[in-house]
Amino acid sequence: MRRTTIGRSVAALSALAMLAACSTDESLDEPATESAEEGAEGAEDEGSEDGGEEADAGSDDEWFDQGEYDEQFEQRSATFEGDPETPWLQYIDGDMTDTSEYASDGAMKVCFSNASIDNPWRQTGWITMNQQLEVLQEDGVISEMETRDAQADDNTQIADIDYFISEGNCDAFVISPNSTAALTPAVERACDTGLPVVVFDRGVETDCPTTFIHPIGGYAWGIDTAEFLSENLEEGDKVVALRILPGVDVLEHRWAAAEQIFEENGIEAVDYFTGADPTEIKNILADELATGEVQGVWMDAGDGAVAAIEAFEDAGQDYPVMTGEDEMSFLRKWQDTELTGLAPVYSNFQWRTPLLAVEQIFAGEEVPTEWVLPQEPITEDERAEYLEANDGMPDGHYAKFGGEDLPGYPDVWQERIIP
């Protein structure tokens, strides 16, 4: 018996040692591999920046980027170049990228690496993008668009981009990164091919792409919404903040800005993670209303807003001052209840822009290096107009989807045909 015990321990130890050895291999192998060409140049500059983030564990202030906050604060009131009738082509004046080297005739193949279509906002945009593609294919600008969907996994998306680079026969890359820092090296590798690279929605930590298309950003969302709530509430009032999940930078920015403004204005804000599940939202608000009054509701994405409003109805309490999103269910419920509200917008029409940018690039026209699209909340005055324009659209549709002039309108969006 004793002997077996010893034998076992030895075996266990040796197994551990073997595994440890296995991991040491990783570090030992490195010096021999200097020849690898993979774009690792970014590592050094990132080092200094991320050094700061190391300390950020646990403290909100370290995460908060004052510079970016200030910039987005300004951009909210900036003048946009271009026709306001086509907001997806508008941009803030700034550096332009010369694309004359890409000028060419004939239809080109676009490779699109998509982060996911796992929420109604992305689904709506994806539908719009495909209708835009149809137009450009008819015009002979784009021959085909090959798409890989990473299903919200950074690692898969890196593999997708690498696959495109080696196997795709692409003429241009369009990338909607799943997360900012993690996709940076892969986007750099795409840039290294010398082909045009268009990045949109979430950014990457490199300026190598031909153009980076995005609405103003998460801080602007937080500023718009928190300022609206602060103006319509008294000092000392309570706001329940409903957040989807932690650890996603775009969403963290929205909350970081809002939290700061609430603090400045003496508004008491309590935040919860809901997973965007309306059941969870309703339970949370029911409990909050059972303990005391709630004067305001803030959301980092609006697609569970109706459940939040219904929680007030079921508890027999006055409607809160509330910010949702330009999702149809919120706009409709907002109109029905006549509560004081605001629909911030993370411009869904940005899904049209990347392919139009590709068109401009192959025409050799210069494009903004950072293409900042307008991001204007829908106010109570504009609400009726958007409700009318989107009559018949499903609840999960987004009012500022910007596809009214595309083929298939409105059926494709009404039936939500996902390619």
Binding site: M1, T4, T5, G7, R8, A11, A12, A15, M18, L19, C22, S23, D25, E26, S27, D29, E30, P31, T33, A36, E38, A40, A43, E44, E46, G47, S48, D50, G51, E53, E54, D56, A57, G58, W63, S116, I117, D149, A152, D154, N155, T156, D162, Y163, S166, E167, N178, S179, A181, A182, T184, P185, L245, P246, G247, V248, D249, E252, F273, I418
Partner: protein
């Protein structure tokens, strides 16, 4: 009885079937890829498929150990996320910090596995609940302390994720190295045999004089360490640590599916690493094919779901027929430890 099955060469082992299925999937892949006007066997494509196997491979190897021991580990995605963050933050972009970072990340992972194992083995909490609870505990810690990606892997470390030897990524080779070590552990060491015995039947194992707890604890520790290594590899590929990278991949359920797809019996005691690697490869090839076909992301899930059930159905019936024989009354009475046969056969 098992020996009998082996004597009949016409009857495939379940691992044999797994690889047969893999070959079928490969042929299918070659045809479909050719139809799309590409070469399935180009080095870029092979490299893409193999890269797809490495992360899930690490985790599935660990999961195999835990399942063989009759437990489950649902905390692996969180362990991987935590390891990527601890590794990334400790490295902070400096090559000199790599050894410390690796030791820290794997040490913490081992500790988590140790707690899982102790709770399962000594507090008699089912592995499903113990590891589900551990996953929640880690999720809370990650959510509180990290608001997004953090840390940075130095260039030298990132090469692990980027370097190819021929068409074979280095990461896959490391994964296969670990697989070999675990196979040796299972086949050549006493505790490896005990792992099978305990997973097959705790009572038989106990009556045969095996202490049932150490193999369970060891399985959980190794599983967590392997999940930690997956996390470090993710760090190498992403260049930063990420609090959501483990959950993004859905590695908990997918690793269990890969293990069962590889012919390991979910109730424990029967199965092997080779089959698991086959299961992981089937998933990777399948994903590659669906990518080439540009199948809608939602439909990809439908296909995965159907393939998991149908593939397992192919040999589950056979296994069920064979199984009772192993715990044949006479064998149990003779207190023959089941492990050696089970380890060799499946």
């Amino acid at each position: 009885m098992n020996a009998l099955a082996r004597l009949r060469p016409t009857r495939l082992t379940s691992t044999g079937i797994v690889y047969l299925v893999l070959v079928l999937v490969l042929v299918l892949g070659a045809v479909i890829t050719a139809a799309a006007g590409r070469n399935f066997f180009s080095s870029g494509n092979i490299s893409a498929i193999l890269t797809g196997t490495s992360i899930l491979g690490f985790i599935a190897i660990g999961q195999t150990l835990v399942i063989l021991a009759g437990s489950l580990d649902l905390s692996v995605p969180y362990v991987a996320s935590l390891a990527s963050l601890l590794g990334g933050v400790t490295m902070a972009g400096q090559t000199g910090n790599i050894p410390l970072a690796v030791v820290t990340a794997l040490g913490v992972a081992a500790l988590i596995g140790l707690v899982n194992g102790l709770v399962v083995a000594y507090l008699h909490v089912h592995g499903f609940i113990a590891s589900l609870g551990m996953g929640l505990i880690l999720a809370g810690y990650l959510g509180t302390n990290y608001k997004g990606s953090a840390g940075s892997a130095p260039r030298d470390f990132r090469l692990i994720g980027a370097l190819n030897i021929g068409p074979v990524p280095l990461s896959t080779l490391i994964m296969l190295g670990c697989a070999v070590l675990v196979i040796l552990l299972l086949r050549r060491t006493r505790i490896g045999h005990h792992l099978y015995a305990v997973g097959g039947s705790k009572d038989v194992a106990r009556l045969s004089g095996v202490r049932t707890q150490p193999p369970i604890v060891l399985a959980h520790v190794l599983c967590s360490v392997l999940a930690g290594m997956a996390g470090l590899l993710l760090l190498a590929r992403l260049s930063v640590g990420s609090p959501t990278i483990g959950t993004q991949g859905g590695y908990d359920l997918m690793s269990i599916a890969a293990v069962v797809l590889g012919g390991t019996v979910l109730a424990g005691g029967k199965g092997n690493i080779l089959g698991t690697l086959g299961g992981v490869a089937i998933f990777a090839v399948m994903d590659n094919i669906m990518g080439v076909m540009q199948l809608n992301a939602f439909l990809q899930d439908v296909v995965r779901g159907l393939v998991i059930v149908l593939a397992v159905a192919v040999y589950a019936r056979r296994n069920a027929d064979l199984r009772p024989a192993r715990f044949d009354r006479s064998r149990a009475a003779r207190h023959t430890p089941a492990p050696t046969t089970a380890g060799g056969a499946a």
